[in-house]
Symmetry: D2
Subunit: 350 residues, 4 copies
């Protein structure tokens, strides 16, 4: 059985394990103030081209979204997201549990546009009774989106502009940030993400780490007393070192010449190979994606048989006899397994 | 510089790192439903002598307290704790952030008694206006307490009784559970803890793991839909395997013949040695402790000089020239360092 | 200037003021346990045909929704509502502020159907990852809806059935309950509402009282310790008597022979007259309504001129030159003013 | 039976009822933006000597505390209060339900001192791990306190100073503000309260109104978007007029020449008479009070007999045969009833 259902099926890149072992008995203070975290922060600051960038490491993605968003919001404020946004669907109401509404806008291929956000904010303030509604204060986007699409630089700029116009923050969920940045369709760099958002996170869990995300806050107003909130929401890891060490290994290098981007590129490359292979078999895609997640539409019969040897995530019914499914490539995916998968699909389609 | 200021200064026991490496590329499903977590659950069930015990692994201690306690409480209910209790002091208001009051009772050596709890609950229900006050619904205790003391079996039984009388839950924070259970002063076993509480957690972070706590719920009513809340509060680790693997390594063995208890015993033994050494030097203790934390009272002058080579946690002023400080021994403490520390203190006291 | 923009433009029915004055210096205990509240409870119990019905009086509608819904929900649970539902739009995120998601379903004329709810719940539990999503636990409906429509008995029965099937509660917001129950299109009675829901409230503020809503809870499990929550959320009025007295006056009588229903009927009758008058003028309705709110579509030019002498609520743009607006009749509306309004519209339309 | 157990036993002053009746059918817009609220605001602005003072009317006291305090706090911040403070004891955890800790300091006669607050704040920031504790951000005081005592001008100034030093807000609960300000022992005016606090409220419910409190915010930063929060927490009364009208009647006049202060004075005067009468009978006081609440210590036997004809609130046991109880005078108390009460006590003491 070969698993393709998600991108967190294995442990961590071996370099990370090696480094954890090497540094294991070195004594370090806790709570993210150790030398490893400090060094990892420096490496990330170099990537985002701001030697003053504020970085904290947090164990998981839902936690990171919850902590960052709740730190940005007063009680009457909410966050705008695509109706497919992770915080709107798959975090069990984590944002609402901190007291805030997730205001959903209809997505287009997993994304929302500046025009949509503008229209929503404009309508809010134009309404005489706007104090009876949740004030939109943050715009949440995922990069890549939950269906593997990515925002272009001009789309991000437009979102930035509308956020500035209405005094809103722009927040970016980068659970799969590397897979997005290394996509052949991508025209932005990590430093652009930093510059155009108020805060975002660099995903580690789905990108080669055991666990851990790097929250990066550009807006200085949002840094104030952040660590109180980090602690309060359970996000301050006692042995912060284990997060710092991992990001140190992932970002050791200049620009895209570091493990993080190499692993991302590996997954994107295999995803492209898989996409091309399916295309050659005339398999339609539910959603075009140039990142590590691919969403082919296959006959239910084929899927049933395929599932004996390969796992995938069920995505949605297309017609009576076809379904869309998701296959994920990751930093750990072996090329030979992609080849096997393609051959298996080819055989079943005959 | 040798650090003694806390018990999470190093990484993890080498057996854990070894096992993480061995299993690294094995593909496993996420969110705590992998085979490692399942096996670790089995090992813990054997320890608590209930093949049906409900176990979930959570990354950190504050998170575990917040998730378990908030899952037990309706909005008008609160949790009783010692005024020195971790949730009352050092979790940045994590419980209040979930909407619940921490009701504090004055501690005696870090503990509260059944009589205190009884008096509080009785007074609550005797008051005609009790609906105007927070309903006490959970009793929170730490084992060992924040100052290293432990509850005896008869104390735990008495707390259980008063909880039953008033329909309250008994919850135990076991961040340093092993150090408590292996103490020479301890007369309870892990299975007693399980039987006498409604829920508790077995600390991993301070006991040899990289990170991770095992939440154990005995009361079946409290298990219902728990995983929704685990996810919502950011406590469902995507690669749950990394928590499962660690507890698998720690609890591989029968009864106290497993790594978890061996490491705990090591720390307690060194703490006893340190305590005896101080006693021989006529150093008074701020608080008698038979677990891994020791709280000597030392002259400020001595402390100042000592701090050049050894770290400790400042605990409180005793008089104009003396302070209480905390030294922690852990699974990773080297006996030679304890010897050095004792000699350094001896020298400075002369 | 004559105002029609909402149904809370005047004080209270004169009988209420008279009774407040008569009883003013009678000493009574506080917090809703006075003799007036007790008597009002009895009158409401007679209406819902359950001598054991649980009734609490609360000052306002948003407060009542917030208190009742939050009392029904554990932290991972949410409430399903129409996307036009008051809690989803016009309560500034009051439900989210208590930690719970409002799950919206697309409305049809302000209502949601049992089939929609069934589909949502079924999909939730069919999804392997449902623990990653908010658990639907309450279905919220407004009666009449925010656009004046009402649920039929068979629609309510179907909702009851699907709630029972999935262990969900059915909650009904009755801010304008009387206007709904007295509608010519209505086939349910107050006792049906009671029997078919788990809890609901009888609106006073928009129905002739100075302020105040009567929360009625049928489901005995939901009554437990309710008054703690009432107090905690700021809903326990110190001088509860002023709410009790008002509901006493409103429900003094048998069945529909009481002030509450007479006032409701008055408003519905004037609304029908207004609707018929507009129909005679061939004015189209944005939304057909048989309750006290009417939603005609009028030329913007007409509206502009009309607004010099009459107020209405703007509802939405229909085309470049026409808008939908809302006119409300209430217990206090004078028939002569409705006649004047119709004549003014007629004149402007020429 | 004559009731003295609290100060909200009757309806409202007759002038209020008269004015409600006179204005009853005047149409007014809702949500506190009507002409009565505007006028009442002007009257209060004159009292606090700031023509720009921000005023909102809210139905109840717990609600007012909850709304004002939660609007002042970010998630990691808490409020310091006396351990006898209303928010710490008798609001069913309302503040915690909004996510914030109430940090208690030991009271002296119901009050806390600037020195206590200073010591707490200083210790907080001196602690290296302060991010692990709730940040003290607001100081809550009651004026008069829950046991009838009042802060002097110099005490308020000292509190203001320490709040400024640590960037904290000073908030004053004025549920019985008039009874405090008219006390013979009081050296502050309403305008002093305004100037020395960031926000406070003028109690109406216990001071002659049917219900209602006037929240007054001096600090301009705290006014921003306040009405969203007012709505969200259920504090925006649809018919705001009924609150405005009441404060209009209460504050119609210049300085202390208005109904509010005349009624307060009436109660304080009767309380002084009662105190003097008890003193003549050599009845000791549990707590010296110069406001409307009096706390005599009486033999249990006397209390038992007295309770057949007079109600009081039980306050606490003093010794085996004596208890402290509370008698409240109010705007509505009849002097003849105080005379009767004194005679009854005199008779029973013989």
């Amino acid at each position: 059985m070969i698993l393709f259902n998600c991108d967190y099926l294995e442990g961590a890149h071996e370099e990370i394990l090696k480094r954890l072992a090497e540094t294991n008995l070195q004594q370090e203070i806790g709570y993210g103030e150790d030398s490893f975290c400090e060094h990892a922060r420096e490496l990330i600051r170099a990537q985002v081209k701001d030697s003053d960038a504020y970085v904290q490491f947090i164990a998981g993605g839902t936690q990171t979204n919850m902590i960052l968003l709740s730190s940005m919001l007063r009680s009457h404020e909410g966050v705008i997201a695509a109706d497919t946004g992770h915080i709107a669907v798959h975090e069990s109401g984590a944002i609402e549990a901190t007291g805030h509404k997730v205001i959903t806008l209809p997505n287009t291929e997993g994304k929302i546009t500046a025009a949509q956000v503008e229209a929503y904010a404009a309508a809010h303030y134009a309404d005489d009774t706007h104090e009876h509604m949740v004030k939109p204060q943050v715009v949440f986007i995922s990069f890549p989106s939950e269906v593997g699409t990515i925002y272009s630089k001009s789309e991000l700029r437009a979102l930035r502009k509308v956020c500035d116009r209405y005094g809103m923050y722009l927040y970016l969920d980068g659970a799969r940030l590397g897979y997005g940045l290394m996509s052949e369709a991508c025209d932005v760099k990590l430093s652009d993400i930093y510059r155009l958002t108020d805060a975002f996170y660099i995903g580690g869990t789905k990108q080669g780490a055991l666990l851990g995300e790097a929250a990066v806050i550009r807006n200085t107003a949002l840094r104030k007393e952040f660590r109180y909130i980090l602690k309060q929401r359970g996000g301050m890891t006692a042995k912060g070192r284990i997060l710092g060490i991992q990001f140190e290994v992932l970002f050791d290098g200049k620009g895209k010449d570091c493990l993080y981007f190499r692993l991302s590129d590996h997954a994107d490359r295999l995803a492209a190979k898989f996409r091309d292979g399916l295309s050659a078999l005339s398999v339609p895609m539910y959603q075009e994606s140039f990142t590590n997640q691919q969403f082919p539409v296959l006959p239910d019969k084929v899927l049933k048989k395929l599932s004996k040897d390969y796992s995938y995530a069920y995505w949605g019914r297309v017609d009576e006899t076809h379904s869309a499914v998701r296959f994920c490539m990751s930093w750990a995916t072996k090329e030979e397994n992609v080849d096997k998968l393609l051959k298996a699909i080819e055989k079943l389609l005959k």
